[in-house]
């Protein structure tokens, strides 16, 4: 008998906006068992599932949803982990609306299956069970791989390589693993305990994690390969360098890069000062420049840390914001004020060097640019000043140049500082060295980095097994 199609998705509970702005507790509460079952029942378990094609790590989505329908929640989580070792993270921060869910058949007439929420549910369910069962790990290959950076790209590459039997060491510059998952994405969107739990899973696969180690400073890539005997290297160092506007007054006190503000709050837990030693300054009237996910994170963090008014200062209009709709809505619900069609011109401070005012110029929307979004065009003479006592600059990040500067033979794109790599194999210009994630693409999403980690692992494995084959590197670097 054909099942009745349900076009509406099961809602997920969220903390009340008035309450949640007072804490850093997680906003989205996740599905209960009943809700998860109800939502899973909506899935048609397509024979040729379009959703899988929309997933950068190719998770067998109908496969795990079928397991939920059978109430095999732990098995469902384990099934996802065959493709992605970070389900609790990705279930929370992936832009599913642009990926798997955008391809769902149900989305044509109604709402797509809430794949992300289901992924999160099974991962949380498994974690709550306390048991961590490991997948099959192949016998030791004898090869050693160094993974640089413990963000999503590095963690996923490391976990895939470990399952293939390679000895993997992940090097992290900061004192905690997780990269942007720890320093960038706030607690209320991605609790740090969850990141550390998924890191623990990757360690159990046999991956060695070395924190406080800055590759390029503590040891170079050449030293790792020649002296420490690593057979291959994967660079997954992300895009951690803030981009500045280069405007007058940018070095005033109270002007933060989003990276600094968020690192203080997230990695250093400055919102718990003085229990934690690291301080953070939070103004009363805060301006956040930019309207991407990082800008939303900064704005919402500022509110929680005590700011009275928080403005998003955006050069286009809301509809062109690159942030996830869900996060944009959350920010507005919480009271973040959107100021559209303005660009900063200069910052003005008091005699002690603290920011007091921002000068803005109004824009109108012009012709679409390469991204298809209408370009902001400055309106001459429309400059005005706005009193503000803190600015967070969230206009973007670039890759950190430390590796580029210390690795002879590694080609870099001069314009964006990204590492040049073959888009299929992730091989760089330097034999034995692969790179993937934001360091190659420029700042993007967690799941695209994870996808790069998965795919790179396959070619690293192929390289290790064919290392002595003549011309192997040319083959990888130039593969179509």
């Amino acid at each position: 008998m054909p099942r009745k199609i349900i076009y509406e998705r099961t809602p997920m509970a969220k903390l009340d906006p008035k309450e949640r702005v007072k804490t850093f507790d997680e906003v989205a509460l996740g599905y209960t068992e009943e809700e998860a079952l109800k939502e899973a029942e909506r899935c048609l378990l397509c024979k040729r599932p379009p959703c899988v094609a929309g997933c950068p790590v190719h998770i067998d989505i109908p496969g795990f949803i079928a397991l939920i329908q059978q109430r095999k929640f732990v098995e469902a989580s384990e099934h996802i982990k065959k493709f992605n070792p970070l389900p609790a993270v990705c279930g929370r921060v992936c832009p599913q609306e642009d990926q798997c869910e955008s391809k769902c058949i149900l989305g044509k007439k109604g709402e797509p299956v809430a794949i992300g929420r289901l992924e999160r549910f099974v991962a949380d369910y498994e974690r709550a069970q306390g048991e961590m069962r490991l997948p099959e790990i192949k016998p030791p290959s004898g090869f050693k791989v160094a993974v640089i950076g413990s963000g999503p790209a590095g963690l996923v590459a490391a976990s895939e390589l470990a399952k293939m039997g390679h000895k993997v060491t992940v090097f992290e510059a900061l004192h905690e693993p997780g990269g942007v998952l720890m320093y960038g994405i706030p607690q209320f969107r991605l609790p740090k305990e969850i990141v550390l739990h998924e890191v623990e899973y990757i360690k159990r696969l046999g991956v060695e994690l070395v924190t406080n180690f800055v590759v390029g400073k503590t040891m170079t890539i050449d030293e790792l390969m020649q002296e420490e005997g690593f057979d291959a290297v994967f660079i997954g160092t992300g895009a951690g360098l803030p981009v500045w506007l280069g405007l007058p007054g940018e070095n005033l006190l109270g002007v933060y890069s989003a990276n600094e503000f968020l690192t203080r709050i997230n990695l250093m837990r400055a919102y718990k000062f003085p229990e934690y030693d690291t301080p953070v300054f939070v103004g009363e009237r805060v301006g956040v420049i930019g309207a991407g996910n990082v800008a939303m994170d900064a704005a919402r963090s500022a509110l929680r840390a005590g700011a009275k008014e928080v403005y998003i200062l955006y050069r286009r209009t809301k509809e062109y914001s690159p942030a996830r709709i869900e996060e944009l809505e959350n920010a507005i619900e919480e009271g973040v004020i959107f100021k559209e069609l303005v660009s900063p011109v200069a910052f003005y401070g008091d005699e002690n060097g603290w920011i007091k005012e921002v000068e803005l110029v109004r824009n109108r929307l012009g012709e679409p640019d390469q991204s298809g979004r209408r370009r902001p065009v400055k309106i001459p003479g429309s400059e005005f000043r706005m009193p503000i006592d803190m600015i967070v600059n969230a206009i973007g990040q670039r890759p950190n140049p430390i590796i580029a500067q210390t690795t002879p033979g590694l080609e870099i794109n001069p314009r964006h500082g990204t590492v040049k790599a073959n888009m299929k194999t992730f091989a760089t210009s330097k034999p034995g060295v692969f790179a993937g994630g934001d360091v190659v693409t420029g700042a993007a999403t967690v799941i695209l980095a994870a996808g790069a980690g998965t795919d790179a692992a396959k070619y690293i494995d192929y390289y290790l097994k064919n290392k002595d084959k003549p011309g192997i590197w040319d083959e990888l670097y130039h593969m179509e």
């Binding site: 004192h175 320093y183 360098l241």
Partner: protein, 286 residues
């Protein structure tokens, strides 16, 4: 790869409020060069603070740090004893000093800045420079490291603000005196409080002597990702952690540096008072 637990092997009191520690950190020691720094955390809720590498012993795998107990973290650090482990210790960070044969070099250390002169002077001597070391302190009781510095310098001049030892005045006065005597100085290095570095820069600019200063802004990650440490050099924004910490003294905006160093004065006070209250409580409990 085995990274050991950053154990404190030795501790020495250099003077009131200043201490030296030798830390087990073989990978840092192996790569360290003069002018570079480390970042450490004392405990799991601690902040990250940068400290200049005062010495690196590659053979024994140790790094020497010298610090002044001025805030919560450094006071806490000073309470640790040999055998204790630091929570985190990462480096070497920053660019090494560009050391070459300049000819005659004056190395100026103001108060606590003196701590970092040792590896610099050793490096300068190794390149065949004639090194005149000038160190200044507020008063006689605060003077430290003179024996170590004398051993590696060609000349050592000491000043005190109150005249209780050596020449009365600042290091810039001693440098001025040498210049008045007609001594030819080819390069100046200055490390110390911002006003001391600024005064040095003003003086050497008049004499057109190239001068290098080592800046000490607030930092978080120390790898170029946050920009807490941004300084203005020649009208351009630089990150002290990756572009420095050493810069051309004649191009540095010292006033901006002074202001930015005061960003968290209020919070630093709260943190320190809290910590002192905790220590009192612990004492009472004993």
């Amino acid at each position: 790869m085995c990274i050991m637990g950053y154990k404190i092997l030795q501790k020495r009191v250099l003077g009131p409020g200043s201490k030296m520690m030798v830390i087990e950190a073989p990978y840092v020691a192996r790569a360290a060069k003069p002018g570079q720094f480390i970042i450490l955390r004392v405990h799991e809720k601690g902040e990250r603070i940068p400290l200049t590498i005062a010495n690196a012993d590659k053979k024994n795998g140790t790094v020497t740090i010298i610090f002044q107990e001025v805030g919560k973290t450094t006071i806490h650090l000073g309470l640790l004893e040999p055998g204790d482990e630091l929570r985190d210790f990462v480096g070497p960070l920053g660019k090494p000093t560009e050391i070459k044969n300049f000819g005659t070099v004056a190395a100026l250390g103001g108060g606590f800045g003196t701590a970092v002169l040792y590896p610099l002077i050793k490096g300068l001597k190794a390149k065949g420079n004639y090194v005149i070391t000038i160190i200044g302190f507020r008063t006689k009781d605060l003077i430290f490291l003179t024996d170590e510095l004398s051993a590696v310098s060609d000349e050592v001049h000491i000043t005190t603000d109150d005249g209780s030892y050596g020449m009365k005045g600042f290091v810039t006065h001693a440098l001025q005196k040498l210049l008045d005597e007609g001594r030819k100085i080819d390069h100046v290095f200055a490390v110390g409080p911002v006003p001391m570095m600024k005064a040095t820069a003003n003086l050497t600019l008049k004499y057109n002597i190239p001068t290098t200063v080592s800046l000490n802004p607030i930092m978080v990650d120390g790898t170029g990702m946050c920009g807490a440490c941004r300084v203005e050099v020649g009208g351009e924004t630089k990150f002290a952690c990756v572009d420095g910490p050493e810069f051309d003294a004649h191009k540095v905006n010292f006033d901006l540096l002074s202001k930015r160093l005061r960003m968290y004065v209020k919070q630093e006070k709260v943190s320190l008072e809290n910590f002192k209250a905790q220590l009192e409580k612990a004492k009472e409990a004993v």
